[in-house]
Each structure stands twice: as C-alpha cells, then as structure tokens.
C-alpha cells in the first residue's frame, strides 16, 4: 500500500475513476460471458466489455505516468491500439470457426450456407 505513486489530487481522482470504470466494464463483460445462453450471444459480451476496459485503463495509465513524470507518457496507448486492432479480428475468426463447426454438424440453429442463393450481389 505504501508504494502508491504520489500524484497530485486531480490526477489521483481521475486515475481512480478511470480504473474503476474500466474494470467495471470488464466485469460486466465477464459476467455476460458466464450468464448468456448460446455461444453466438456469449461472443459479444467479453468483446465489448474488454475493449472498453482496455480503453479506460490505458487512459488511466497514460494520465498516471504523465502526471508522475510531468511529460506526456504514451506507452500504454500502444497496448490500447494493439488490442483494439486484434481483439475483434481474433473473435471474428473464432465465430467463423464456430459457425463452420455448427454447419458441419448440420445444426438447425445457424443460417445455411446458401443464404444469398439467387440474390444478385453487385
């Protein structure tokens, strides 16, 4: 507890609020992952929750270290950028794989492959 950085009051309150908002979003996403019914509903919850959580906690880290050093410290923005780019891509890959598996098993709960059959696409 005694290693908490000695921030000015405005920075300490901002960092505390941002970290709490971010972890709250993450917790909501994880509860959604636990409670929702089907896989295609469950895949939404941690994506949105973790994206907002990463955004707010990275912002809190930037505010904290900028106030500590007296200069703009943008290291945590890298984490935010990387996760914002990769998390949707990875989970879309996972959802495609799940859809492929469900179709291969002949499940009736997923749309068929030829859903656009006969539709003219430009």
């Amino acid at each position: 507890m005694n290693s908490i950085p000695d921030l000015p009051p405005w920075a300490a309150i901002t960092v505390a609020v941002l970290v709490l908002i971010g972890s709250g979003f993450t917790l909501i996403g994880a509860i959604g992952l636990l409670r929702l019914d089907s896989f295609y509903q469950r895949v939404h919850a941690p994506t949105i929750g973790s994206s907002f959580g990463v955004a707010f906690i990275s912002l809190a880290t930037v505010v904290c270290f900028s106030a500590l050093r007296g200069t703009l410290a943008l290291g945590a923005v890298l984490v935010f950028l990387f996760l914002t780019l990769t998390m949707p891509a990875g989970l879309v890959l996972l959802a495609r794989a799940a859809l492929f598996r469900d179709r291969a098993e002949g499940s009736q709960d997923v749309p068929p492959v030829d859903v656009t059959a006969g539709v003219e696409l430009d």
């Binding site: 908490i4 906690i57 984490v79």
Partner: protein
C-alpha cells in the same frame, strides 16, 4: 486523502478484474463446447493484461507495459491459432 482514494480505487478495480477472471475461468471449465473454452481463454488473457496494467499504476513503474504488450500479442496468436485448429483440425497445413 486523494492517495488513499487512489489506493482504494485500485484495490476495488483489482477485485473486479479478479472476479472477471474467475467468471471467464468458470466458462473455460464448464464449456460446453470447444469454442466456448477458447473464448474463455481469450477473456482470461485480456483481463490478466488489465490486471497487470493496474499493478503498473499501483507500483508507479513503466516496466509492466512491456509485459502487457507481450501478453496482448500472445493472446491474439493463441486465439487465432485455436480458431484455425477448430476450423481445419490442424494449425499449419
């Protein structure tokens, strides 16, 4: 006073993130199918990364960023490789 507020905020946030990790871990254990477990592992990865970032704020050092970045990369590669495995049955064809 504001330092105590920051300490309590960080403790509460770390508690939230720990509960989130436990929720995702229960989903990994329960399943019911392989894609649910992969989704749970991905969520555990991301939440652990956020926990490491809050530890970085608490200890006032920037050494935790690199660990968080490496975890982000490993998590993405793991999810992509496991999705490929679920779709094809092998990772490298």
């Amino acid at each position: 006073m504001s330092t105590a507020l920051l300490a309590w905020g960080l403790t509460l946030a770390q508690l939230f993130l720990a509960i989130a990790i436990v929720c995702a871990g229960v989903r990994v254990l329960v399943g019911p199918r392989a894609q649910d477990r992969v989704l749970g592992v991905d969520t555990v990865y991301t939440n652990t990364l956020l926990l490491i970032l809050t530890f970085g704020i608490r200890h006032g050092t920037a050494l935790y960023f690199e660990a968080a970045l490496i975890m982000a990369m490993c998590g993405f590669v793991a999810t992509a490789a496991l999705s490929k495995f679920l779709m094809r049955g092998e990772v490298i064809e």
